[in-house]
């Protein structure tokens, strides 16, 4: 069992937790993920690591409540335990040798983009961060990004904070203004990453995307997380989760991500009804 040492609610749907898992905390690097189960009959869900504190033995996760499992997770409190917590899985972000990088995060993806930005910053790389949210109420991690970014641009869809618009607007402006990025690293919704790639590709700026497909075991055994990258079938869990954005078949990934939409909807409804009963 793995204890929840700290819990904070970052916005109405995003929760941060520090989980006591010393072995994982010792090893996990930016870009890697863990798999957890909330309780005895829980499903296994992958979450990308949002930070570690090896001295304390904790691993930070930041997640959005999008389904029954993340709902159940969000309802756990400080001091309570998670049934299972395993990792780190997947490959770490390549940091070495990078001098100037633009990190582009969208929504809760910013939670995963942050440790990447921090790792780059710590390695002496110049970091430009662009983070986007639907609106001000959903904004997370502004101070943390400020601390590790040489330049920070915040975008909101509705203009309630920062600049109004999507993340690709300032990205394109920067590239056109002559910023020479060694790499763009983007983490967020599939559709956003697809458009980031569409923005950088014409300029030939190498772009890395972080994929988060459906998984079961996370060790290469089930093949459920397969993607087509460069015309080849790869497994996100062992070959990724980060890939060359120019080569990823996003349309296929987006289609596959809806495989269990029906099941998820029912499970979510059931979970909400249960919660309503608890509240009543």
């Amino acid at each position: 069992m793995y204890q929840i040492i700290r819990k904070a609610v970052l916005n109405p749907t995003v929760v941060r937790m520090d989980i006591l898992a010393p072995r994982v905390a010792n090893k996990a690097k930016a870009g890697q993920f863990i798999i957890l189960r909330v309780d005895e009959n829980g499903e296994r869900i992958p979450l990308t690591v949002a930070g570690t504190n090896p001295a304390e033995g904790t691993v930070r996760i930041i997640f959005q409540t999008v389904g029954a499992t993340t709902d159940a997770l969000a309802r756990k409190n400080e001091g309570e335990y998670l049934q299972d917590f395993v990792g780190p899985l997947g490959k770490a972000t390549e940091i070495e040798g990078l001098k100037k990088v633009c990190v582009v995060g969208g929504g809760v993806g910013c939670a995963i983009a942050l440790p990447v930005a921090q790792a780059l910053h710590d390695a002496g790389c110049e970091v430009h961060s662009i983070i986007g949210f639907r609106g001000k109420d959903l904004l997370i991690l502004e101070d943390e990004f400020k601390a590790c970014s040489d330049r920070l641009t915040i975008m909101t869809d509705d203009g309630s904070y920062g600049r109004q618009g999507v993340v690709t607007v300032p990205l394109k402006e920067a590239i056109e203004a002559g910023e020479c990025y060694d790499r763009v690293i983007t983490i967020g919704p599939l559709i956003m990453m697809k458009f980031v790639v569409a923005t950088t590709k014409p300029y030939g700026v190498p772009t890395v995307v972080s994929m988060n497909p459906v998984m079961v075991d996370g060790t290469g055994m089930c093949g459920g997380c397969r993607l087509t990258v460069g015309g080849k079938t790869v497994f996100a869990c062992v070959d990724g989760p980060e890939f060359d954005g120019f080569e990823v078949d996003f349309d296929e990934a987006m289609s596959r991500s809806t495989m269990y939409a029906d099941f998820e909807r029912h499970a979510r409804d059931a979970s909400c009804n249960l919660f309503k009963k608890e509240v009543e």
Binding site: A68, D84, V216, T219, M221, G224, S255, R256, A267
Partner: protein
């Protein structure tokens, strides 16, 4: 000894009615009654040279245990099996006895061999139900051994070493111990409580099992030595599922058998209260002809499919699955579409509505008819495509069951560990020793996908070699 029972046939195994069992996940084979076991035991001739024992990868002293069954001393029979096998209740169910012990049985020359597997299962189940014996813990010898993977190879190696006084820790990547016995083989063939009973037995012998540790990721093999382990056994299994490389394999509704079975077996997706989703398909095609393909097909049927087909490119004769499994599948109504090879999986695409929820889901599988050509050097007739023979089978789910390759996680993080071209760890055959001192390996991680009992044999061999190595150090 009383006159042997010369009945030419085995006592038949009682089974659930096919029409009933096709809709439930309860065990298909119900096991011998005491009377049936006693009767079957009298069919054994107690041959002096015991050819059956040579057919057993872990050399269970078969005539001796059957003699105890005949005497009605089932606990003594169990203890004889237990000396050679860590997992009797498992082996009694999933071993291909017809190719092993029973294939060597003298009674098999004129009639059916003794039902050795069925007797083993009876004895193990009797023990698990009635025995109150507690294992005698051996004196600890102070040496620590780490086992990677808690499947049949790892559990066997752990059991054999614990019995010799070693302090054994088994590391398992998943959240529950048992490996393929938990995630791969379905409940209706191997109930999970039986696997857990065997695992509990190992714990009672002092074996520590740590779940949620991925060796190669959470901890490396080198770090295990730094932590004070003196030898490591790698039994990490054959993880990575293969796909055919045909168009349409990324459509929604295409599974690897590993994923499909893991969702159903390990994650209990077949239960109504499951939190893990699985597609409840109407028409299912399973590609492949091994035991795993049979398991996947029969699972799909139990999940409510109306029609389940096995698509296999050779004929019934070449089908690699156990005969008993094929018969069970046929009885349950699985359709065998033999001499067919898939060339494409077809999907739904609505050109007028990109948001149509049916988009991207499987609608059919295009197959090419095959015929058998000349036998190859191994005597196996290879399939040849029949020109212009393509046809489409309407399905909404395709399960690829065409094999797996060894998991590269450990290899890629362990320096000096040599693997062959297929990714299998290279070992000395009679010891399981790898290219690294103190590191042993066995099971599917070495051979690629094989059977439970072969993995157990490899685990046992390695345990003996590890014992010899550490005693001589």
């Amino acid at each position: 000894m009383a006159k042997p029972n010369m009945s030419p046939v085995k006592n038949p195994m009682p089974t659930q009615d096919p029409a009933v069992r096709a809709h439930n996940f309860d065990e298909v084979a119900l096991g011998y009654t005491e009377a049936q076991a006693l009767d079957e035991a009298t069919r054994c001739l107690n041959c002096k040279n015991a050819p059956c024992v040579t057919g057993c990868p872990v050399n269970i002293h078969i005539p001796a245990f059957i003699e105890k069954v005949r005497e009605g001393d089932f606990e003594a029979a169990y203890q004889i099996i237990r000396k050679s096998s860590s997992l009797p209740a498992v082996c009694g169910r999933v071993c291909p006895q017809e190719k092993q012990c029973e294939s060597k049985c003298v009674r098999g020359i004129k009639g059916e061999p003794v039902g050795i597997g069925r007797l083993e299962r009876f004895v193990a189940d009797w023990h698990n139900t009635f025995s109150t014996e507690h294992p005698v813990l051996p004196e600890k010898n102070g040496h620590r051994v780490a086992i990677v993977g808690s499947g049949p190879a790892g559990l066997t190696c752990a059991g054999a070493l614990a019995a010799r006084g070693y302090e054994v820790t088994v590391y398992e990547a998943l959240h529950v111990a048992g490996g393929v016995l938990m995630y791969g083989i379905p409940e209706f063939r191997l109930p999970k409580h039986i696997v857990q009973k065997e695992v509990d037995g190992l714990r009672a012998m002092g074996v520590t099992i740590e779940t949620n540790v991925v060796i190669g990721k959470t901890v490396t093999v080198d770090e295990l030595f730094e932590e004070g382990f003196e030898a490591v056994f790698v039994g990490s299994g054959a993880g990575l599922p293969k796909f055919m490389g045909i168009p349409g394999e990324s459509l929604k509704g295409v599974y690897s058998a590993n994923e499909f079975l893991t969702r159903s077996n390990l994650m209990k997706a077949y239960r109504e209260d499951a939190t893990t989703p699985i597609l409840r398909a109407r028409r299912v095609a399973v590609v492949g002809g091994g035991n795993v393909a049979m398991d996947a097909a029969r699972t799909a049927l139990r999940l409510g499919a109306e029609e389940v087909s096995i698509i296999y490119r050779r004929s019934m004769e070449e089908l690699p699955a156990r005969k008993e499994e094929v018969e069970h599948a046929e009885e349950e109504g699985i359709i065998f579409r033999l001499l067919n090879n898939p060339v494409e999986i077809l999907g739904y695409h609505n050109p007028d509505d990109r948001r149509d929820p049916k988009n991207g889901f499987v609608t059919g599988i295009k197959c090419q008819k095959m015929m058998l050509g000349e036998p190859d050097e191994r005597g196996r007739r290879s399939p040849v495509a029949v020109p212009d023979s393509e046809w489409v089978l309407d399905v909404d789910c395709v399960i690829m069951s065409i094999g797996t390759s060894p998991n590269p996680l450990i290899k890629s993080t362990t320096e000096g560990l040599d693997v062959n071209s297929r990714g299998g760890i290279i070992v000395e055959e009679d010891t399981g020793l790898t290219s690294r001192e103190g590191v042993y390996a066995g099971g599917d991680a070495v051979t690629g996908a094989a059977t439970v009992i072969l993995a157990m044999g490899a685990g046992k061999t390695a345990a003996e070699a590890i014992d010899a190595y550490l005693q001589s150090k």
